[in-house]
Amino acid sequence: MKFTQLAILAFICAACNSRPSDPGDVDTALYNDLQTQLINAKPGDVIKIPAGTHHFDRPLLLDGVKGVTIQGAGKDKTILSFLGQKAGAEGLKITADSVLIQDLTVTDTKGDAIRVQDAKNVTMRNVKTTWSGGAKASNGGYGLYPVGCEGVLIDRCEASFASDAGIYVGQSKNVVVKNSYAHENVAGIEIENCTNAEVKYCRSEKNTGGILVFDLPGLPAGNGKTCKIHHNKIISNNHRNFAPEGNIVATVAPGTGLIFLAAKDVEAHHNEVIGHKTMGAAIASYHIVQLKWDDKNYDPYTYDIKLHNNRFERKKALPDLSKDFGKMVNVYFGGKPQDILYDGILDDKRPSGSNPMNICIDQPQTGLRFANIDAANDFKNINPDLKPYQCK
């Protein structure tokens, strides 16, 4: 047989053996190339993903190699679509120190879009995560999701339509989220069980809740503390809550700007908290969610909170009626949105006095709607007096 005949046969072979294209034409060749590069990566390697919309059916994984850069051609130029994902719930899953992810978009993952776990010095820059079908409970939980990390920088990123939090940093230390844009998620930006975090110059808009600082029980990282939230625009977070029940964010009332739940040592200043129909800021202990916990090291209280120089501007609308917190605002505040609500739940172990939890609010604007809602006593003594909470 002549070589040309063989070549023709080989061609026919290849043609008839190739399976019909899956919806979205999965680019297996590019996937294999990138995943092979990630597996064989050496410290300091730059792995470039070309411009274009690339459909993948499995996640890209990087493990154990320090200092790898995953580089797209631009946030709106390199788009990794996981619409037809068959396995592995994430888009990018990384367990490697000093990773830099930049200039790309991850869309439509079955689970979380970009998860980085147990890594030191994680940077995500100019990265976008989204779900193309809009706000759905079936979307993945988190967009940008570093967890258990030390040293996290999220800069100039964008996250939308996550069914839990667009930008979620969990159980991490030394975290900076800046210049980023979270919109139409359930939670825009969430800092959970973190120590030493900072969220600044971000825009969190049209989510259910704008920026959340939470501490939850039963986690290996234990209690978090120290978070600074400043110079953010927290705007019109009135989106319906589309989180699946069971998740803590499913309790967030649409129309909430800031929430500090079991948070310790938080300072929020120079934020614009504008256009919320339920409440601008909530300061609450974990008791408020009425879930029991079995973690003897867990500290459910919120204390050492400082709010100053923020601008609160309410939306003129009826507060949310879909969640308990919204109903509470409707019932106890005559259907009027509030600026700052504090649950007033006290830790008996702290020194007594008029402000044992050390909540300090320096917001001298006229007409500020504040109240201690006395949640521990079924809202019996709701008190709008701000004096006990003046900053020293």
């Binding site: 499995r58 396995a87 939980g141 039963g218 973690d295």
Partner: protein, 372 residues
């Protein structure tokens, strides 16, 4: 071995025949050949991984018949990891004169250059597993300079040999199950990094199965003898002396009611299928859900535990396990699901393990207490 490997496969390898398959687009798997290899096991840790499975010589004769070579010992686990109903033929090989020790927690501490060999195959008819089968992949865990490394070999369509694959693959697989139903799935071959997502303890690759508690059972060996695996390993020189079986309670067989109580069998299943990740030193530690068999803390086991980062994986349910209420338990919801964003384990299956779902459902149903 339960499985009697068939001999005398047709060796004729017709190039023209292969071409004609291409030409007519017939499934190449319709004609199996099988390639024979002879000689002893070859393992040079400096050169591993070899490009082909046959390069190691772990199997003698027709490779797809998986007949172990001298020094290659088959083993089974009391409760194995579920992988889409794949049958698994497991073997261990160690260099001459070396043996495994038993660690304090009952795991086997293997010597350097030990190799664990796991073949994934599907009988054409599950009612007659010895009649015909498709071998899909063979995974090797090899200990080199004190560190385990994982490599996967994917069998070619003619099942002559398997080739090293580090990037993973999706392979169509079909069979007829015990009830006579035809099953077709897209079987997922993991990539090298995914291997580590299960075989992981403190971010270091570790075997999952070989623990004293899970190996302590009888096996029919290729020489026709039926013997306890621990004593056979000792006779072969592969396991340090001592009455290890006395020291560690035997794991219950998840599917054999005579082997343990419902709770023991449920916990054995969760230990093997979930506990490698859901462990304080495993990759799922950030969830605070620990499912290894020795977990004593009910909250860590998921009792009345709210999810941490489940997203849609919660299925709208409030807690991991609600005693007495399987239909309200997230654990069961995730086992019953095949959406990659919901299901657990995260990888390694595209099907629901129906029989295990029943076991866990029955266990949760009989649990006492409530989450109020």
């Amino acid at each position: 071995m339960k499985k009697q490997f068939k001999k005398g496969r047709i060796l004729a390898a017709g190039f023209l025949l292969a071409l004609s398959f291409c030409f007519t687009c017939q499934s190449p798997a319709a004609q199996k050949k099988g390639m024979a290899v002879s000689g002893p096991v070859r393992f040079d840790p400096g050169k591993a991984p070899y490009p082909k499975l046959s390069d190691y010589g772990f199997f003698t004769g027709i490779q797809r018949d998986l007949q172990p070579n001298a020094g290659v010992l088959p083993y089974e686990l009391i409760t194995p990891l579920f992988t889409d109903y794949a049958h698994k033929a497991r073997f261990v090989w160690m260099p001459k004169g070396t043996q495994a020790k038993v660690a304090a927690d009952g795991r086997l501490d293997f010597p350097d250059q030990a190799v664990l060999i796991k073949n994934f195959y599907y009988p054409a008819d599950f009612a007659k597993p010895e009649a015909d089968w498709d071998v899909v992949e063979t995974r090797l865990l090899m200990k080199i300079k004190g560190e385990w490394q994982a490599f996967t070999y994917v069998w070619d369509d003619a099942e002559n040999d398997a080739e090293l694959n580090i990037v993973g693959d999706i392979k169509p697989v079909s069979w007829q199950d015990e009830k006579g139903h035809k099953q077709n799935i897209e079987y997922l071959v993991p990539n090298k990094t995914q291997c580590k997502s299960c075989h992981n303890r403190d971010a270091i690759i570790q075997p999952i199965g070989p623990k004293v508690a899970n190996l302590n059972k009888d096996l029919r060996y290729p020489d026709g003898k039926t013997e306890n695996q621990l004593s056979r390993w000792q006779k072969a020189g592969y396991l340090a002396a001592g009455d290890h079986g006395q020291k560690f309670a035997k794991l219950a067989a998840w599917d054999k009611p005579e082997s343990g109580s419902l709770q023991e069998r449920a916990l054995a299943y969760l230990d093997v299928n979930c506990g490698h990740c859901h462990h304080p030193q495993g990759p799922a530690h950030s969830s605070g859900l620990y499912l290894q068999a020795d977990e004593q803390d009910l909250a860590h086991l998921g009792f009345c535990k709210p999810p941490v980062a489940a997203g849609k994986g919660s299925g709208g349910r409030q807690f991991g396990i609600v005693p007495g209420q399987p239909a309200a338990s997230i654990l069961l919801y995730r086992m019953e699901n095949t959406d990659p964003g919901v299901m657990m384990p995260e990888i390694g299956r595209v099907m629901v393990h129906t029989e295990a779902v029943e076991l866990i459902r029955d266990w949760i149903a009989e649990l006492k207490g409530n989450c109020n």
